[in-house]
């Protein structure tokens, strides 16, 4: 795969997904270039979380093709394993492991999945904790930390596996207002480092400053996508205008 750099790193091709009879994703076509930073927004229930959760197979699509870093996702365990090695994820509810210390949260996957020696995994973990400015809390348990600190640990945990793609599923939605900034700062720093990012968020200021492209979804469909400047200045679709007027003018 010598031309891998030119290929999109993620390619959705007519992807469909149902929950029972509910049609959650409808004919999704989306291709993401290496290093591209995409913000996905839309009303609740529009399928934005489902969309990014398909990328590491936390949700499986039922129709269409989804290719992540050259591997087509299917129920073949090898493909899922490969995707999960390339993709890191940050959740709305942090999902840190409460029975493990911060440091153990970060070394768990490197030692058990990548079979890294423990001291090497620890070094890598401490480096990531420095990066999110929380190294002094390494030996605490997650529930002793504030929400903002927990989410920064969760970002560091995902980065410990040196992923090529980061999925962020409403990373600031469960935070107290005073803590949103510290997490956004870490995310902005991350965005500056060339990693491919797919972020579901309602933080439009963040979207405007870091996104290469904004994808707007409604009712399981991609309504429109554009560079942030165009997206905010000249939304093409009536539905987009309505959504933006609700979240920008309050």
């Amino acid at each position: 795969m010598s031309d891998a750099a030119d290929q999109p790193i993620i390619q959705f091709d007519k992807v469909n997904k149902w929950y029972g009879q509910f049609h959650a994703l409808r004919d999704i076509d989306l291709s993401v270039a290496r290093g591209e930073r995409i913000v996905i927004c839309g009303p609740s229930g529009s399928g934005k979380s489902t969309l990014i959760r398909c990328v590491n197979w936390l949700e499986e699509h039922q129709q269409g093709r989804l290719i992540v870093d050259g591997v087509e996702l299917s129920d073949d365990p090898k493909a899922i394993e490969a995707a999960r090695r390339t993709v890191g994820m940050v959740f709305q509810q942090f999902n840190l492991f409460p029975h493990l210390s911060v440091l153990e949260n970060l070394t768990l996957a490197p030692t058990w999945v990548n079979k890294l020696p423990l001291n090497e995994a620890r070094e890598r973990a401490m480096a990531q904790l420095e990066r999110v400015r929380i190294a002094d809390q390494a030996h605490k348990y997650p529930l002793q930390l504030s929400g903002g600190q927990q989410q920064r640990v969760a970002i560091a945990r995902a980065l410990c596996l040196t992923p090529k793609i980061m999925l962020l599923d409403e990373p600031t939605s469960a935070l107290d207002p005073e803590m949103i900034k510290e997490v956004l700062d870490v995310m902005i720093e991350l965005a500056g480092q060339g990693i491919t990012m797919l972020c579901v968020t309602h933080e439009m200021g963040f979207a405007r400053s870091i996104a290469d492209r904004i994808v707007f979804m409604d009712q399981g469909q991609i309504v429109e996508q554009n560079a942030p400047g165009e997206f905010f200045a000249n939304p093409a679709n009536e539905r987009t205008r309505e959504f933006l007027s609700k979240i920008l003018n309050h």
Partner: protein, 376 residues
């Protein structure tokens, strides 16, 4: 116009009233109903305790003097306990039909198990060598009990009895039931339909029958299905029955713990690339088991006491050995009550130790797994 924020310095909480008088007033006589209950209970104790002490200690016979025992038991004015029955029979109660001259063997075997149990409770001993140590302990136990080597006379399992049998059935039963229970619980939650059906079948079948019938099956029915001469030892069959029975109940306890794990935990483990077994071993089970420590200990205590049922298939553990000791002896048969008290104390000691240990484990987990932020 800007107001200045002045913070109020933190003050100490008002002191609790200390000393004997406030304690008595708040704990024993907070209002007239509780006060009346206190007086009533104190009166009952004052009436009952002296009689109990007279019976159990001051009028009791401690030597194995049968005539004195009968006299004190029939003395209506000053009734006393006949602890002599224990002085006379304790070896049969503790060791059953094991050859009398070799009683040091079951004694030593029991001590080995008790010492291992005590050692295993200490976090200092939670090391890799603990499992091999247990295997060695059980090997030593079987060697001592069975004999046939190193100059020890051979004693068949049918003659094992009393305390070592109770300890063996309880420890080996619990130790074997635990992993089976974890697997059955995981199986019942498995996405694979065949595995799930098999585990549901096993759990519901075993939970649907009383232990006594499982023991009867193991002891009498099971050999009928096997060619003669191929039947495993009765002790082994009964042990398997107890294990499978305890595991079915424990599996449901473990399943309850697993189902309480938030789905986000499992998703986080998946997103980090952990496989099914790694997720269960590192993420789900450690959290699930600490949620259900009290229920697990409940199961263990039940299993410990359930071992007394093996007496119905002619294995003479503590309860059975007691019957063995007194049933055929007309001199001592009247003093069943005192003998039952004796083994009741043994069972109670074991159960109380288990329950205290479980409380200790809970407190320890609460400290190491802080769930309420910096405040604690």
């Amino acid at each position: 116009m800007s107001a200045v924020f002045t913070s109020i310095p933190a003050r100490a909480a008002p002191l609790r009233m200390l000393g004997a008088r406030p304690w008595i007033r708040t704990r024993l006589f907070p209002d007239w109903t509780n006060g009346a209950a206190t007086v009533l209970i104190a009166a009952l104790l004052a009436w009952f305790l002296p009689q109990l002490l007279d019976w159990a200690l001051f009028n009791a016979v401690f030597s194995n003097d049968n005539a004195a025992c009968r006299a004190v038991a029939h003395d209506a004015a000053r009734p006393g306990a006949c602890w002599g029955v224990i002085t006379e029979k304790y070896r049969v109660i503790l060791f059953g039909r094991f050859p009398h001259a070799d009683h040091w063997r079951p004694l030593l075997a029991s001590l080995i198990l008790v010492l291992m149990l005590v050692a295993s409770c200490r976090p200092r001993c939670w090391r890799r060598w603990l499992a091999p140590a247990w295997i060695a302990a059980f090997a030593a136990f079987f060697l001592l009990m069975r004999g046939g080597v190193a100059g020890l006379t051979y004693v068949e399992t049918a003659r094992w009895g009393g305390l070592p049998l109770t300890l063996l059935l309880a420890t080996l039963g619990i130790a074997a039931a635990f992993p089976i229970a974890v697997l059955a619980a995981l199986g019942r939650l498995s996405p694979l339909p065949a595995v799930r059906a098999a585990c549901i079948g096993y759990i519901e079948l075993v939970r649907g029958v009383p232990l006594i019938s499982v023991l009867f099956m193991a002891s009498f029915m099971f050999p009928l299905f096997l060619p003669p001469g191929m039947t495993p030892d009765v002790l082994l069959r009964v042990l398997a029955g107890i294990t499978l029975f305890a595991a079915a109940y424990l599996a449901e306890v473990v399943r309850g713990g697993l189902q309480a794990i938030p789905v986000g935990q499992i998703e986080a483990a998946k997103s980090l690339g952990l496989g099914y077994w790694q997720t269960q071993r590192r993420i789900a089970l450690p959290q699930a088991l600490r949620h259900v420590v009290p229920a697990i200990m409940n199961s263990f205590i039940s299993t410990f006491k359930d071992t007394s049922l093996v007496t119905v298939v002619s294995l003479y553990e503590l309860t059975g050995a007691l019957g063995l000791a007194l049933r055929g002896d007309t001199d001592w048969r009247p003093f069943y009550f005192e003998a039952y008290l004796f083994i009741a104390i043994i069972y109670w000691t074991g159960c109380y130790a288990m329950s205290s240990y479980s409380h200790w484990v809970e407190r320890r987990l609460a400290v190491s797994n802080q769930t309420t932020g910096n405040a604690r």
